[in-house]
Amino acid sequence: MDTIKELAENQTIILILSGIEYHRGVLEVARQLSGQRVAYVTLNKTFSAMKDDFGKEGIDASKFVFVDGITKTIKKVKGSTTACYYVSSPAALDEISGALSKILARGFRYVLFDSLTNLPIYGGKAPVARFVSGTVAMIKERKGMAIFYALGVKEQDGFIQESGMSVDKIIDLRMGGC
């Protein structure tokens, strides 16, 4: 998939990946956006793990800014930095929105959201679908472009379809490569 071309044609995309291809697919998109100013929301890996992964793969993430929903759930964090906004947990939807808004205000154009599958739906699917819709609206308003990753699992199909109504395109790579 040519990420930059796809995003030029469709401002917001849900990218569905299989469990086997997930890690590789996410890294490949990041590789294609190497050197760009990217806001990366991570809800399944810590900022530190992301840095390790990108480093090992030779991906230039020096211009990436992260919103990390994991680290604070497992340890104390002093505070956010210019490279990473730490939010309390993947359930802190308002904090995620706030951090994303600040990063977009700094002129970042690309958003990678990793992933919809990790958005907790304890409070029901409706609030999460509203969050996705609100996030898409905010990105579009700031002329940004976004890829929302989703793990292709049956249990999430309904939620992904519902969230899909907010974006411009759904790309399902479960059957193909990235």
Binding site: G19, N44, K45, T46, S48, A49, K51, D52, I70, T71, K72, T73, I74, K75, K76, S88, S89, P90, A91, N118, P120, Y122
Partner: protein, 131 residues
């Protein structure tokens, strides 16, 4: 099992008790089934708060603790479980350095990444809890 009695194996030895803490019912059931088949007594909790409530009464030999759950975050739950061995069992990925840091915690004995091989899970539970 009676609340004051600890289950015993066929040889009369005390069976080790594992508490599985996960908000996903399927995960709780799968792990419970696997561990029971391997000779453990298994109790479950649906989140960190439930774990804190039940741990005092159940006194497990090992807690398998998911990281991403609703309610009190695990970084606040773990210090309240002094004296009980804990293994994180999670889909969350951390860096090598963070994992090493986490298992430096007095009662953190392992960091098991989901998805896991059943045989590997049993081996690691056995290593941590015995039995």
């Amino acid at each position: 099992m009676g609340k004051a009695r600890q289950a015993r194996g066929t040889a009369g030895e005390k069976m080790k008790k594992i508490m599985v803490v996960d908000d996903e019912p399927d995960n709780r059931l799968t792990i419970k089934t696997v561990l029971e088949k391997n000779g453990y007594v298994v109790v479950t909790a649906v989140n960190g708060d439930d774990c804190l409530k039940k741990a005092r009464k159940e006194k497990p030999d090992l807690i398998l603790l998911d990281v991403m759950m609703p309610g009190t975050p695990v970084r606040e739950v773990v210090p309240k479980l002094k004296g009980i061995k804990i293994a994180y069992l999670t889909v969350v990925r951390t860096s090598e350095a963070e994992r090493e840091d986490l298992v430096k915690g007095k009662n953190i004995v392992d960091f098991i990444q989901k998805p896991f091989e059943i045989r590997d899970l049993v081996r690691r539970v056995r290593k941590a809890a015995g039995g």
